[in-house]
Amino acid sequence: MQSSVSIHDLSLSFGSVNVLEKLSLDIAQGEFLVLLGPSGCGKSTLLNCIAGLLDISAGQIFISGKNVTWEEPKDRGIGMVFQSYALYPQMTVERNLSFGLRVARMPADQIAERVKRASDILQIGPLLDRKPGQLSGGQRQRVAIGRALVRDVDVFLFDEPLSNLDAKLRSELRVEIKRLHQRLKNTMIYVTHDQIEAMTLADRIAIMKNGVIQQLDDPHTIYNKPKNLFVAGFIGSPTMNFLTGKLAGGNVALEGVNIPLGKYSMQKAIDGSNVVLGVRPEHVAVGEDARKMPFTIESEIEIVEPMGADTVAWTKVGGQSLTFRAAAEVPLHTGQKVLVGFDPSRGSVFDAASGDRI
């Protein structure tokens, strides 16, 4: 089976600034790939290169087996959805959907059929006569997706499509996009800075920083086995706990605290080196549950943050901050002495200097 989108050694520089360097990526047919990262990491730039809206400095791009490196966007077999919807403001919805097809001189009945199909899938039929200015944000975004749908292509590109919507609409449309993917089974490349969108929608996530892909894995792996400090800190809310210490004979030594690593499988362990142990707040147990954990310690609660569904509390271990999550019913208050515990082998150990996972 051929990959749907294939990128070989893609580089892009603006003058002397290297935005993307020798990037390679293969995306399978029907896969939902998310490009995730903070602002300026190059994810949108990469998407624009795939779309053909940006000229690359080196490398090749293949879509559906065809070398499209020099092709115009319209000949690449892609559809694209933008953050600001980019609907043509003076045209009706129907016109917005059909304008590209009309320009390509498609027969009218074919156009009508495609428009109907798209509007049925996205349920925008009743909106066909309205202009974008008369639509709500969510409706506009559906029309934007519809415009990509009528093109009847293999690959869909999404450039932060939900960022302009409020939180509630965002979660609604997120589910719709997932349903769309399940129904259409097209390859979708999706750019976002929101880790929740990434985790919920992706088959695989490519986390990017400074133009380099830090890790390319399915969400589960990225969540449980992050490859470096950056990825570990980016995914997960509240942020992963980072405890810095020295590696000493199978333990991580903090100030006055020794954390045995137990079954953690290390790859390149150098005794005496500085390491960072990462533990997710949701993997830290408190009270009775803590006793079952391989590592426990008594600590005092400094701050309590009630979140409604659960509570986040801040304590200190070996002089360093440790947060944990507990169910809302567990009584916690500042100054309370509790027993906390976790399983270090479920955590992640990183080399303090390079940030890489060891």
């Binding site: 990959s3 990526l25 399978a28 000229d55 293949f62």
Partner: protein, 314 residues
Amino acid sequence: MTADSFVQTSGATTKVGTNRDALTGPNGPRPKRISPARIGIYAFLIIVAIFFCVPLYVMLVTSFKSMPEVREAHLFNLPREWTIDPWIKAWSTACTGRDCTGLAPGFWNSVKITVPAVFISIIVSQLNGYALTFWRYKGAEVLFNFLVFGAFVPYQVLVYPIIIGLRDVHLFATLPGIIIVHTIFGMPILTLLFRNYYSSIPIEIFKAARIDGAGFWQTFFRVMLPLSVPITTVAVILQVTGIWNDFIFALVFAGQSNIPMTLQLNNIVKTTFGTVEYDVNMAATILTALVPLIIYFVSGKWFVRGIAAGAVKG
């Protein structure tokens, strides 16, 4: 397609990237071909640019020729013998209907009119813009709309009542009179300019100043004025250009003793004793246009901003 590509199934850990040797087929940036459309666009722009340059070129070229050469009627040729006599004559000895003092007196009159008028009109409009943006009081909006309406009214509609008004205060055909006229007619656009600019300043700055205890005038001088340097520059350029280039107000309101350069130019050019001295006329014309032209070329982008700012209305 090629044997090189193979797919990574999504597993626990996937290698990023694949192995490839040399790149075959299209790679790297798209080859740039100069399309006929691009050539056409450049050709169009160049032709239009030449058309725009012609008058200035012709004026310059003519002004450096002597009259015999001018009469040869080769409008576009460079001077065979360059001479600056026309310029000297234009400045100091060209004759109007009444005397032969050249453009020089007109120049100084223009300066006398422009400098105060620019200064006053900008200060007043700035104050208005500031007051209107941050201190809204009843009736201000209505008056402001009248002012804006005034920006579009043809001057001729208001000329006669203003004549009467100035006569009544004995300021008709005086220097203060024409300065007042320029201030009045400059106010609508300038107030609009400043108000639009101040509207774009976050109101938090203003509120912070108020919380710090600053009053109306203090806020204006210590906070707003320093923030307004860009827009004030634009306003100065607009006003200097407009007032220096003015003709009709000078004609009606300046009086005999304050004839500015444009009017003086008119008197020189329209006076013909015998043959018309085109080279002198052209030199005089360029001299008159020189001040705003220099400002324009020196301050390039500010000028453009001025047009855009003055143009973006409502």
